[in-house]
């Protein structure tokens, strides 16, 4: 699993990346009340806003941790956005992306580096 400084995570399986927001991000947002995930077929570039997560207070963009083509958004979040709080790094995934350049992951943090990064915030 790899992590961005914007608190997204990405897990690569073959050339398909599952992406979501980290537990830290979900905790900071508080109660998630709405999630807008991307549609299948959409091309996304690394660092582009590709999804939106909303708490009671505000809407926040979620940035693509890698470039590629969206295979599917997590449709379950439409009716159960609270899953993002309950299991942000599991069932609360946002999308699966067919990765166009796996080397982009080399520029992201691993778990230890991300945990260290969190201590600097």
């Amino acid at each position: 699993m790899h992590f961005t400084k914007d608190h997204e995570w990405v897990r690569l399986d073959g050339d398909v990346a599952t992406v979501g927001i980290t537990k830290h991000a979900a905790d900071q947002l508080g109660d998630v009340v709405f999630v807008e995930t991307p549609e299948a077929g959409r091309a996304v570039s690394q660092k582009d806003g590709f999804a939106v997560v909303e708490s009671v207070k505000a809407a926040s963009d979620v940035y693509a941790p890698v470039s590629g083509e969206v295979i599917e958004g997590n449709a379950a979040l439409a009716s159960a956005p609270e899953t993002v709080n309950a299991d942000p790094e599991g069932e609360g995934w946002f999308a699966r992306i067919k990765v166009s350049d796996a080397s982009q992951l080399d520029g992201l943090m691993d778990r230890a580096a991300y945990d260290q990064f969190l201590t600097t915030l």
């Binding site: 508080g30 109660d31 939106v52 207070k57 809407a59």
Partner: protein
């Protein structure tokens, strides 16, 4: 970790001890949430929530001419207001725009006790200092905290401490000894629920806060839930839903225009207010039920059924009590009738919306029979 540029309320340490998440708000380091906005919102609707609103401005306006001078800039009849009562009003500019909204009452026989918004208080106080004339003196009470207890169990909780509070009806106010100290208290609030707001000397605030919090029916509530509660109650937030360009008629606040004052037309902005009443305003604040998609937030465009943009959302979000998305915003009166089908544009996508009555959630004030 306190941001050195932010001011603190007398309850800052208490919030930190409770594990609150603190944010900067109107120049103050304030608790936005403790356990979570949704849980705090629901707790207040079902039990009793305790709020630190010490960032708000508290002042007295005293002197022989206090009420007459205060009335020059508000459309409410404060001459007729009985001792022991308070009234919501609007500080108006000469164009009839709302400089601030406020609560002013007669808790004692010494002029008016006034509570104004945190973000406007410095301007409000400067305005009164510059404009009050005759025997009318502004005294800022910056040595006091303001604590609100709100919810269906608020009265039971507070009456257990101070039986005299049972005698208060909605909008009653008094200056009296509570918890052993000199307080101003009113039965009012900003949640749509029954409850009290208590002005406490700063040095006693933490003791009073902790005393009230000992009751298992009470939980601390942050500014996040305060905002969602007031939205459900249809109460405008100054700087968002009303501002110095909005008239009271546009803001759907005509209840704050006293009959005698409209007839006398002797307050700043009266000309605009009377014109809006006679001819109808250019736009009016309405409630919206957003029927699909994402919550519509401040700034989202409102369109008619054909997609033509006719206004803008000024506050909006999920309603935890109703389980749907609600908003308030401005539309022309031609599109303000209850049931009018509209659209809101969120991130470029139109979503169906309908004009609905406010409050979105019924208010539960403790009104005593007259």
């Amino acid at each position: 970790m306190t941001d050195g540029t932010l001011k603190t309320t007398p309850l800052n340490a208490a919030h930190r001890a409770l594990g609150a998440r603190m944010v900067g708000f109107s120049g103050y380091d304030m608790p936005v949430q403790y356990e979570g906005v949704l849980a705090e919102h629901r707790w207040t609707r079902e039990h009793a929530g305790l709020f630190d609103v010490s960032h708000m401005g508290q002042c007295k306006i005293t002197g022989r001419d206090a009420v007459a001078q205060f009335e020059r800039f508000v459309p409410g009849d404060y001459q007729a207001l009985k001792a022991g009562k308070q009234k919501y009003s609007l500080l108006l500019n000469e164009q009839g725009g709302i400089i601030d909204d406020l609560m002013a009452g007669k808790p004692d026989h010494d002029g008016l006790f006034v509570v104004v918004n945190a973000g406007n208080k410095d301007e409000d106080f400067a305005f009164w200092r510059a404009n009050l004339s005759g025997d009318a003196t502004l005294s800022v009470l910056d040595d006091r905290a303001l604590i609100a207890v709100q919810g269906p169990e608020a009265a039971e909780v507070m009456v257990a401490h101070e039986p005299v509070l049972a005698e208060f009806g909605f909008m009653d106010c008094a200056r009296l000894m509570l918890f052993g100290v000199d307080c101003y208290v009113s039965r009012s609030g900003y949640t749509g629920e029954d409850g009290y707001e208590i002005s406490v000397p700063a040095g006693d605030a933490e003791r009073v806060w902790n005393t009230i919090l000992q009751d298992a029916r009470v939980k601390p509530i942050g500014l996040g839930a305060r905002d969602s509660l007031r939205l459900e109650a249809g109460l405008p937030l100054h700087g968002h839903d009303i501002d110095p360009t909005t008239s009271p008629v546009e803001g759907a606040l005509t209840f704050a225009l006293s009959k005698s004052r409209k007839e006398a037309a002797n307050f700043d902005g009266a000309e605009r207010v009377l014109k809006d009443l006679a001819e109808g305003p250019a736009r009016v604040r309405v409630g919206l039920h957003v029927k699909e998609g994402a919550p519509a937030r401040e700034g989202a465009e409102i369109a008619d059924a054909d997609g033509a943009v006719i206004g803008r959302v000024t506050s909006g979000g999920p309603s935890p009590s109703l389980g749907k998305n609600i908003a308030m915003g401005y539309v022309p009166p031609s599109h303000a009738a209850l049931g009018t089908a509209l659209q809101v544009i969120v991130r470029g996508k139109p979503a169906a919306a309908e004009v609905v009555a406010m409050p979105f959630v019924a208010q539960r004030y403790h009104r005593k029979p007259k």
